[in-house]
């Protein structure tokens, strides 16, 4: 790398193009912070997916000023898909070659500002849909695919496989919450920058959408509320039900694309319905049950045909930096994994009684939000046989504990159904992410719900979790719903 700027940079510095601010932009984006010494701001006028006008402003080193000027020139008059494809490498080329050591961040910064302007444009145009959820326009678009890209290996390989299969692919990364690793005041979080870089290295356009409000309402608040109500939440299910697929479909419609794709391990079978993937250990059909049928009809899951080891091998072979990213764990908006603390910061926890199933008080607890059904740790009582939480009663502030046997159920009541196939086809039900399906029969219950009668008792069925029904072949999902409350064997209904 050189130590000094080449003449093209200085030329842009002294005679920058597209300087200023559009009076009525369709999108505006800013990146950087005066406290870091660099701020770049882009305004864009996009009509019919063409970037008709671009203006930029920059406070920063010569590299920032020049990169902004060069980038503005590269995207003006171009189709949005082309503009969103401009990579750091292309931009550097336009600046006459490698920037001096330590100045590469200017490329990241100006691209981030431009992409934030694109995001603002897309969010403005689709704002209501992104807040309220979206079923898709039903338009039969072209053959393109919007591939959700998180910055991890699975979603990167998804986009790559689609591209290699001949699809026109646009990658999208969703801003879901503020707890992203690598979050700073100035640039986008590292995850967004990394995903953008990955997409650009594959030659794909990259977009971002801001879904924080939607995600907060439909996923995070639901997560906290579940604990308050004594339910066990599953935020991934909530996200698939209301956020991820809907937002991808919004962008697909905007771009005139037919398909959406994610890096889930699942398959789409005729119906359409979900079917188990080749890699049964990575099976994610359990968390995908709430995806609306009309969205599933346009969804592609390329990884359903691969094993995880193959996916990593593909990433390594194609030289994707994401090949070595660690497996994502737990809940994305609680990176430290301490979800008790996360919940407690957001609710007032009232102390209450720990009781046995007869109602005798055995001790005290610091708040029902600390407990979920099936929990063994943190009860704070010593007993000759291990104690489990068998029920949480937010109304009375009671936490009911009992033996493991008390957790066994033979019936599961389920509501909020999403049926892909006829309910009669259901022959087994899975009630935990890492559980196995249990043979069952299902029939309609009073009050619009359904009841699954299990052939063998299972433990650890917690209200709020998903119950997913599988067909007789054990492969296809018939439908799914949320566990309402349980009938423990020989017990009166709880709560």
């Amino acid at each position: 790398m050189p130590e000094t700027y080449n003449p093209r940079v200085i030329e842009h510095l002294v005679r920058p193009r597209n300087v200023g601010e559009l009076p009525e932009p369709s999108g505006r984006g800013e990146s950087g912070d005066s406290a870091c010494g660099d701020v770049v701001c882009f305004t864009v006028g996009i009509r019919s997916n063409v970037v008709e006008e671009v203006r930029y402003q920059a406070y920063g080193c010569a590299a920032c000023v020049a990169a902004g000027s060069a980038l503005a020139g590269m995207v003006e008059g171009r189709h949005l898909l082309e503009a969103a494809r401009v990579s750091k490498a292309k931009l550097e080329e336009a600046l006459g070659g490698a920037l001096p050591v330590g100045k590469e961040h200017a490329l990241t910064l100006v691209l981030d500002a431009l992409h934030k302007a694109f995001e603002d444009h897309l969010n403005r145009g689709t704002g209501e849909m992104l807040v309220e959820g979206y079923g898709g326009s039903g338009r039969e678009g072209g053959g393109g695919v919007v591939a959700a890209m998180s910055g991890g290996v699975d979603s990167a390989v998804t986009a790559l496989l689609l591209k290699e299969a001949g699809y026109e692919v646009a990658a999208v990364t969703f801003r879901l919450h503020d707890g992203e690793r690598g979050s700073r005041s100035c640039c986008s979080p590292d995850t967004v920058l990394f995903a953008r870089d990955t997409a650009h290295r594959m030659g794909l356009p990259h977009f971002t959408l801001n879904l924080k409000e939607l995600f907060h309402r439909r996923v995070m608040q639901d997560f906290v509320g579940s604990y308050e109500e004594g339910r066990t939440p599953n935020p991934c299910v909530a996200c698939n039900a209301h956020v991820k697929f809907h937002a991808a479909a919004v962008l697909a419609d905007e771009l005139g694309f037919r398909h959406v794709a994610t890096g889930h391990y699942a398959r789409v079978a005729e119906g359409p319905t979900l079917a188990r993937p080749v890699d049964e250990r990575k099976d994610q059909t359990y968390v995908l049950w709430p995806v609306p049928k009309e969205l599933l009809a346009r969804t592609l899951f390329p990884l359903g045909e691969y094993r995880k080891t193959e996916v990593r091998a593909i990433a390594q072979e194609r030289g994707l930096a994401v090949a070595y990213t660690p497996e994502s764990q737990d809940i994305c908006f609680i990176p430290d994994g301490d979800y008790r603390r996360f919940v407690r910061k957001r609710v007032v926890a009232e102390p209450g009684d720990v009781v046995d199933r007869e109602g005798a008080v055995l001790g005290r607890h610091a708040g029902v939000v600390d407990f979920t059904v099936g929990q063994r740790r943190g009860i704070g009582l010593s007993a000759p046989t291990p104690l489990y939480v068998t029920e949480v009663r937010p109304g009375t502030g009671q936490v009911v504990v009992g033996k493991k046997k008390d957790l066994e159920v033979r019936e599961v009541r389920v509501g909020g159904m999403n049926w892909f196939l006829a309910p009669e086809e259901a022959s087994s039900v899975q009630v935990r992410y890492n559980g196995s399906p249990v043979p069952c029969t299902v029939e309609e219950d009073e009050g619009g719900g359904w009841v699954a009668r299990l052939e063998e008792p299972v433990v650890g069925v917690a209200p709020g979790q998903s119950a997913v029904f599988y067909a007789g072949d054990g492969e296809r999902v018939v439908g799914g719903g949320v566990v309402r409350h349980r009938f423990a064997q020989g017990n009166a209904p709880g709560g």
């Binding site: 920058p16 300087v19 010494g37 660099d38 402003q57 920063g60 080193c61 920032c64 000023v65 330590g102």
Partner: protein, 385 residues
């Protein structure tokens, strides 16, 4: 640009042709090592000793109190580390101002790593040290105090006479970095009882790569390099004869021409100050009166320093930037932060330093270019309306 107008004299000065002329015989032809016994050695030795006398005269010292070094940084390091390490074992405390050059700042950090306690002396908004603060900071176990004679960034001249006297009264060795002050301020170690004082040749129209440390007679200084024992054992290594000769001539000229240079420089400096005063939201940093004759240090609101420096460079004017941007992150100058400025401001500062070669016409042209560059970059800036 074939001949850019050079206004970065605090970074380095052009080599005076009279200095170059004196150096040339020692660069070409036959040369001796001053440590050799033969005639060539003796002639080199004589040249070095003549230079030593001139450098000593610049600061009012005697020749044997001058130790030649590789430059200002080595002189500062030798002064700070050498004084501290030669102090009695129980003296493990040093006092250093917040507005030191990196050479002193980093040497103090090194001492901290060796177990010394470092007490910083704060400065006011103009970068000035209050002698009372120094007096308060001194302790019986203080091994040394260091305050720069004139700051290299903002150009503020410190009250070194008073500071050195406070230290002398309390028997605490005092080091001062006079690299920027030399050639612009009269230096007299008789008036200012410093124990050690650092100088650099290339800031006063001498060659790069040579400097000197004044060490008051009788003050113990531990060397920081080891070898043949040159320079009284304080700076081993074969002498940079040509450089030292050049330094000697430069020092002599600096002393002889001091008044005329200061008058010339301060005239140009004041013309720049008057010119930039007409541009809105440009402020002078450093003390308005107690400042170096050549230094104009400015905050230019809404404009980032590097882009301004390079913009002016493209127009044919070389000035200095007040902040350093490295490894993707700007680093705010500790000197400005010590003066109470926030990090944001520290990215918008530039330093314009005139020299004896600059002319009034150059300054006039510069002012025009400067005001154009500022206007253009402000047009571009999202932080300036």
């Amino acid at each position: 640009m074939a001949h850019p107008v050079y206004l970065d004299n605090a970074a380095t000065t052009p080599l005076d042709p009279r200095v170059l002329e004196a150096m040339l015989p020692h660069l070409g032809g036959r040369r001796g090592n001053p440590s050799s016994l033969h005639a060539l050695g003796a002639s080199a030795r004589e040249a070095v000793e003549e230079a030593r006398g001139s450098v000593a005269a610049l600061v009012g010292a005697s020749a044997e109190e001058i130790v030649f070094t590789s430059g200002g940084t080595e002189a500062d390091d030798l002064g700070v580390l050498g004084l501290a390490r030669s102090a009695p074992a129980e003296k493990r405390h040093v006092v250093v101002s917040r507005v030191e050059h990196a050479a002193v700042r980093e040497a103090a950090r090194r001492l901290e790593a060796e177990g010394f306690e470092v007490t910083p002396i704060e400065v006011d908004e103009d970068g000035l040290v209050d002698p009372a603060d120094l007096a308060d900071a001194l302790r019986p176990e203080t091994a040394l105090a260091a305050v720069v004679w004139a700051n290299n960034e903002v150009g503020t001249i410190e009250p070194v006479r008073e500071l050195a006297r406070i230290c002398a009264e309390r028997d605490v060795p005092f080091h001062t970095d006079a690299v920027q002050a030399a050639g612009r301020v009269p230096l007299d170690v008789g008036e200012v009882p410093a124990s050690t004082l650092a100088l650099s040749a290339h800031k006063l129209y001498g060659p790069q790569g040579v400097g000197a440390l004044y060490v008051r007679k009788g003050v113990p200084v531990e060397p920081i390099s080891y070898g043949g024992g040159q320079e009284g054992g304080l700076r081993s290594g074969t002498h940079n004869v040509a450089g030292i000769v050049g330094f000697g001539v430069a020092a002599r000229l600096a002393r002889e021409e001091l008044d005329e240079r200061v008058a010339h420089e301060s005239g140009l400096r004041d013309a720049i100050l008057a010119g930039v005063a007409r541009i809105p939201d440009v402020r002078l940093n450093g003390h308005p009166e107690r400042r170096l004759s050549n230094n104009v240090h400015l905050t230019v609101e809404g404009v980032e320093a590097e882009s301004l420096v390079l913009f002016l460079d493209a127009l044919g004017y070389a000035i200095g930037s007040g902040s350093a941007c490295s490894s993707g992150e700007h680093k705010a100058s500790p000197v400005l932060l010590a003066m109470g400025r926030d990090e944001r401001e520290a990215f918008s500062v530039v330093r314009v330093t005139v020299g004896k070669e600059n002319t009034a016409a150059e300054v006039e042209d510069f002012l025009e270019a400067f005001s154009e560059a500022v206007a253009r970059l402000r047009e571009l800036s999202p932080l300036y309306n």
